[in-house]
Every structure is written in structure tokens, then in C-alpha cells.
Symmetry: C2
Subunit: 215 residues, 2 copies
Amino acid sequence: MPLKEKEISVTTLRRLPVYLHYLNTIKTTRKNISSATIAAAFGLNDVQVRKDLGAVSGSGRPKTGYDVEQLIGQIEYCLGYGSETKTILVGAGNLGKALLSYRGFSDYGLNIIAAFDSSEAVVGTLINEKPVLPLGDIEVVCLNKNIKLGIITTPVEFAQETCDRLISCGIKAIWNFAPTILKAPEHVLIENENLASSLAILSKHLREGYSEENV
Amino acid sequence: MPLKEKEISVTTLRRLPVYLHYLNTIKTTRKNISSATIAAAFGLNDVQVRKDLGAVSGSGRPKTGYDVEQLIGQIEYCLGYGSETKTILVGAGNLGKALLSYRGFSDYGLNIIAAFDSSEAVVGTLINEKPVLPLGDIEVVCLNKNIKLGIITTPVEFAQETCDRLISCGIKAIWNFAPTILKAPEHVLIENENLASSLAILSKHLREGYSEENV
């Protein structure tokens, strides 16, 4: 891997999928695009966009800007979209079922190969063609399939033990949807998707944030 | 509203639901708790936890710490859990259906009263007892029910027009699940839940982040 890939910041990484989608929507109509045009499309600062794109590509050519197809290829390579990431999901409740049923993940190279749950009502069933297996099978599936990414959608009281268990099976990154803070060794990345926290921000804004508008 | 409520930072606000859940799990066994105990439970810094709790409560009493029941009440009040926030959702595809079916939202006072979609296949149906209505009904429902919060789960190419439409109906906060950056006036809060961005972070870590561990 070229050294510069390591230098991409988390905030840049969060914006790249957004740029990528935009570039894919315009690629049939445009051959080149400037960072200023992309910046304007998203209401972002041009300098920021140039910095983001500079991390995956060279700088755009004066006047013509970036070659759209080439830039798409470079972002996709950076995001690893060509490769497939196999993952498992623990906790096939409402949210887990929702993620299992979501067909958008394959666009990003994510393939949930199995789900795990303790409930007899759901173990043995298929959700969107993915098998729901008993918790006891976690170790054998992770090790045999060399799984490195796990999704946690368990009730919050089981989230930490699930996290520990996945790490002991060689998992290196966890996408956590349980509303808690998970403890993990430094080499394991925990990405939190805390819906309750998002709701707290929104709800606070509604009760106070725009009050200057109201009488 | 007391002035101090306005001073709560976004990062504190994101942690409050996490503390709240923890306090609810221990309230039957403990009357008091110190910030240090809470900090240890989540691997956080004690000073940080004390600052967070100080924003919604006074400081804990020396030796005994915080009264658990009282602290629960104060956090719930701050997060507005006693009140109900009515919301609508636009885009009843896989992800939209998933959110409509998720029963955890009511814990946070969120009530999705209706969904909207353009597809004849889904309009007229009920998802988790919530009606799916045609897009043309957005205005009348928002205005009649005085809706201030909207959830966007449309395909990305319709996200901005949906956002504009909701704002014109008086919506003040938007929970956006479409992988794009929405433009909105300053008084409208956009909270992004970008699954593609989260996946980019996780995938990058898997390909590079823990390489020092491997041979």
C-alpha cells in the first residue's frame, strides 16, 4: 500500500463515500470536474474538498480539474469497494433483522454471511437468505471463515460480553449499534452507531435550538 | 428553561443516553453512585463524567456521590424523555421499513406517526401499525399534526428535494440516513446517520489499521 493511504483522516474518509456517490451520478454527462463544483454541490469549502481528493488522487489539472472516471476508481480503491468484507451480526432482534434485510450494504462490499441469536424463535430461520445460528456457533464460523468485522445489535446488557467474545475470535473491527460504550483493546476499532445519541441531539434542538424563531 | 440547559455540549449530549441506560440497570441495587464508578464502567475519564453530569445535575456529594434516582430524573428531563416527539419518515424502502419496525424508539419518546413513499406497492399498507401514505400527503400531515422532526430514508437522489419539502412544511430537525450532505437553513438541524461513512472507517481499519499485528 502506498504510504499516503495511511494519512487519510477519519473526517476525509467519512466524506469520500458521499463524493463517490455524486461522481457516479454525473459520470455519464461529464468527463471532468473541478473541486469547486463538487464543493458547491455539497455546500462545502473548496479547500476542504481539494484536500480530501488530494488524499486519494493527485491534484486536479488547472482549468479541467479531475477526470471523473479516474477519480471514481481512485476513491473506490481507497475505500476497498472492489474487495468483499465478510461480516457476521450478533443479535437478530428488530434492528438486527433490519440490517440483515438492507440490500444497500453490498454496494460497499459488505457481505453479512450469518447472524447469531439466543432466541429459539429465530435460530434456524433465514433472513434475506442469511442463516440465523445459535450463539454457540460464533467461534467456529469466525475462525473458519476468517471473519474480521462484527456487527453488534444485541440488547445493551449483552453488548460488552458479545464484544469480548468476538475479539477472542479474531475480530478486528466492530460496528456497534447497542447504546453503550464498549471497552476493547487498542488494535480493535469500535465504530458506534448510537441511535439514542442522535435522537438526543435532535430532540434537544427541537426543544430549544430554534427558539429564537418562535414568539 | 434554565439557562444551563443551553450550555450542554453535543458530545455530552451523546453520552447522556449511555449513562441513563446504565443508571437504569443499577437503580434497584444502588442508591448512590460516584462519577468515578460510572467512569470506570465505561472506561471514560472521571473528570469528563463529572463535567457531563454537572451539566444536568449539581455536583455529586463528597463520599456518597449522586443519588441514582434523582440523576435518572435529571437526565431524562434534559433529554426530554417525558415528552413525545411526533415524527414522519419519507422513503419506505428496506431501511425505512426497518426503522418503522424498530420498537426501541418509543423508549426515547420518538413516535413515527406515518411514512411516505412514491411506490404504489407500499402506499396504503401498514408497517408496524404505521400507515404508508403517498408523497402528496406530506404537507397536510406535517401542518395538521405540527410535525417538527422528519426522517429521510429515500434513495440519495431524492434526499435534497425531500429535505427542502420537509423544511417548507415547518420541519426544524432532520434525521438523514441518505448518504449525502444535505443543504438546509441554519435554524434546521441535520443529523446524519451515514452508514456508508461508518463502513468506510471500518473497512479502512481492517485493511491497514491493525497491520502491525500481522506478519
